[in-house]
Symmetry: C2
Subunit: 141 residues, 2 copies
DNA sequence: TATTGTTATACTCTATAACTATA
DNA sequence: TATAGTTATAGAGTATAACAATA
């Protein structure tokens, strides 16, 4: 990173963007040895949490367009990490394979390490305020 | 936005990403009537702040790859908002035109409105901690 | 008639590799 | 020989439009 500072650093919105970019780049690097993307883990974790959830349900929980689930699920299936199980002629439950579960367990350790490193960088007096502030910015819009 | 909550919402890293995405989408919508992108304003503001700065200097201050400056500057020039002025045979200063300056002034009002709306959404007791926490996450890496 | 899953497509931000020309 | 500017390309996360099939 550059040591440059600029007036934009005083803006919460700009700082929010920079911090998120830095975090995502960091996480992407940590996950790449596992052959996984951030979106893969996000979906897998939610699939594991919500047994039998459909692609559409997952997309709503993550607040992303459901069309974006298609390539993610395709990757996960081709990697043998997840499969689709018909609920009826219309809906399909997404289910992790056993390989998917063990991969998720490993990946989740990476996530927890990242989360720990993240909060460790925040000065202690600011730490308890960070999550509530962020949640206020994206929840219940 | 969906009203769904999930366990990921408890993770600062995930919340950081969601909050930044929401903010960027919001800002993009607010800027589109002006025919501008977020990256356009960011560059224009810095160019205006650092008179005579070169493309490479701007890219370092924003911590983005300098190759990404090329399409931004091309757009700004084609829109008559900025121009290049040779410093020597190698470097070029980026300069806002008068149209660029008035456009920036309008766009900056949008930015300040967004920043104001952003902090207004954060509960008051968390507000003073937000910017310092974010800065700690991306500065002096 | 609203929802599911899907295809095709496109946009924004960001990055890497490799080149030329100049300081 | 390090730096500036550039081209071409790629990747990751998003989005919209449009469709067939089903609940």
């Amino acid at each position: 990173m550059s040591d440059d500072r600029n007036m934009l650093d005083m803006l919460p919105g700009y700082a929010l963007r920079r911090a998120a970019n830095a975090m995502m780049a960091d996480l992407g690097e940590r996950l790449s040895p596992l052959g996984l993307r951030v979106s893969d883990i996000t979906v897998m974790k939610l699939v594991d949490e919500r047994k039998g959830a459909t692609s559409s349900q997952i997309s709503r929980a993550l607040d992303i367009n459901r069309t974006n689930m298609v390539p993610v699920l395709k990757r996960l299936e081709e990697a043998g990490l997840a499969r689709r199980e018909a609920i009826n002629g219309k809906s399909q439950a997404i289910v992790l394979t056993s390989k998917g579960q063990s991969t998720l367990a490993k990946a989740w350790q990476v996530i927890e390490q990242l989360e720990g490193d993240l909060i460790a960088r925040i000065p202690a007096q600011h730490r308890p305020h960070f999550l509530p502030a962020l949640q206020a910015l994206y929840q219940s819009d």
